[in-house]
């Protein structure tokens, strides 16, 4: 077993022991942390299975050529537009964007395109944007989109090209 895996297991185990002991001893901070854990764990379980089923279906049904044509090396600028559309309508938080990005990549999407997807999923999800505009005004939201989106695309291209030159490959679960 790798050392990093072992230390992760130890970390998680000591976390649960801490929570368990806190409940037994009535240690309030530990109890609250435990409650937080349960709330988020349940939240995750509500979303993740559905999302991963969609990922599985995508993996089996969508042809590699289709992804390559629209998001691969030959896709040109259209690839980025697709990713902004997909990112802005993404379900869940950034944590769901990573498995989706990985799936797209493994089907032939180029690196700069999936980094754009991650950026778009972070900054322009529509429910969040509507929420933002109602609290801070439409001008604020418009400026944020118009400044951050081009920067996301430009930095994604730079990072993608840099990593491609270095022979970088995404290997999940490393």
């Amino acid at each position: 077993m790798k050392r990093s895996t072992l230390s992760k297991i130890l970390l998680i185990a000591s976390y649960f022991i801490f929570i368990g002991v806190s409940w037994l001893m009535g240690f309030n901070p530990g109890q609250q942390i435990g409650q937080n854990f349960v709330v988020f764990f349940v939240d995750m379980l509500k979303i993740l299975p559905g999302a991963f089923i969609l990922i599985g279906l995508f993996e089996v049904w969508v042809k590699r050529e289709t992804v390559e044509r629209h998001l691969g090396e030959e896709s040109g600028f259209r690839g980025y537009l697709w990713m902004i559309l997909l990112g802005s309508t993404a379900v869940g938080g950034l944590y769901l964007a990573f498995p989706v990005a990985y799936t797209l990549y493994s089907k032939g999407a180029r690196l700069s395109v999936i980094f754009t997807y991650l950026g778009a999923a972070a900054i322009c999800r529509l429910p969040m944007t509507i929420f933002e505009a109602s609290f801070l005004g439409i001008k604020f939201t418009a400026i944020r989109w118009l400044v951050s989106l081009p920067l996301v695309i430009i930095t994604s291209i730079l990072l993608g090209n840099y990593l491609t030159r270095r022979g970088y490959r995404v290997e999940a679960g490393k």
């Binding site: 992760k8 970390l11 998680i12 901070p29 609250q32 435990g34 937080n36 854990f37 709330v39 988020f40 939240d43 995750m44 979303i47 993740l48 299975p49 559905g50 991963f52 089923i53 969609l54 990922i55 599985g56 279906l57 993996e59 089996v60 379900v91 869940g92 938080g93 950034l94 944590y95 990573f98 498995p99 990985y102 980094f115 991650l118 950026g119 972070a122 900054i123 429910p127 969040m128 929420f131 933002e132 109602s134 609290f135 801070l136 001008k139 604020f140 400026i143 944020r144 400044v147 951050s148 920067l151 996301v152 930095t155 990072l159 990593l163 995404v170 290997e171 999940a172 679960g173 490393k174």
Partner: protein, 145 residues
């Protein structure tokens, strides 16, 4: 629950076309899920501790669920700050950083993309937030008055 309606419909349609392919995709889904689950577990433990240490965040997060965590904490809070006279620039830097720099999601990002790319991507996000803040300052007349 939209997600499950969509996922359910997709499964039914898939099943109608090919039983064998549907079984294969469910297997892939399960395998992918199990593989990344430890990273999610680490993220949830981090979130549970952070939310205890920052109680103000917990109110927003528990209302909005972890799904929308950044936005649903950031914007009401930003609205309050704005009313208290905090500059748009500062609010832009704060909310964009919160959206783009994912400290809590780092375990998941790292599991897929490796430590180096995770760091680079998040540092880039931080600089984009600064750029947004500066432009915001110009447009709201907070710089060069």
């Amino acid at each position: 629950m939209y997600l499950y309606i969509v996922a359910g419909l997709a499964l039914v349609v898939s099943l109608a076309f090919s039983r064998e392919k549907t079984i294969r995709s469910v297997k892939i889904a399960a395998r992918r899920f199990i593989k990344i689950f430890p990273a999610f577990l680490i993220m949830i433990t981090l979130v549970s501790v952070v939310l205890y240490l920052v109680p103000a965040m917990a109110v927003g997060a528990l209302l909005g669920s972890v799904t929308y965590m950044p936005g649903f904490i950031a914007f009401p809070l930003a609205g309050i700050l704005l009313q208290k006279g905090v500059a748009y620039m500062v609010i832009a830097a704060f909310s964009t950083t919160l959206m783009m720099v994912g400290v809590l999601t780092a375990p998941i990002e790292k599991a897929y993309f490796g430590l180096k790319v995770t760091i680079i991507r998040n540092v880039i996000g931080f600089f984009i937030a600064l750029a947004v803040a500066v432009v915001m300052g110009f447009f709201f007349g907070e710089i060069c008055q």
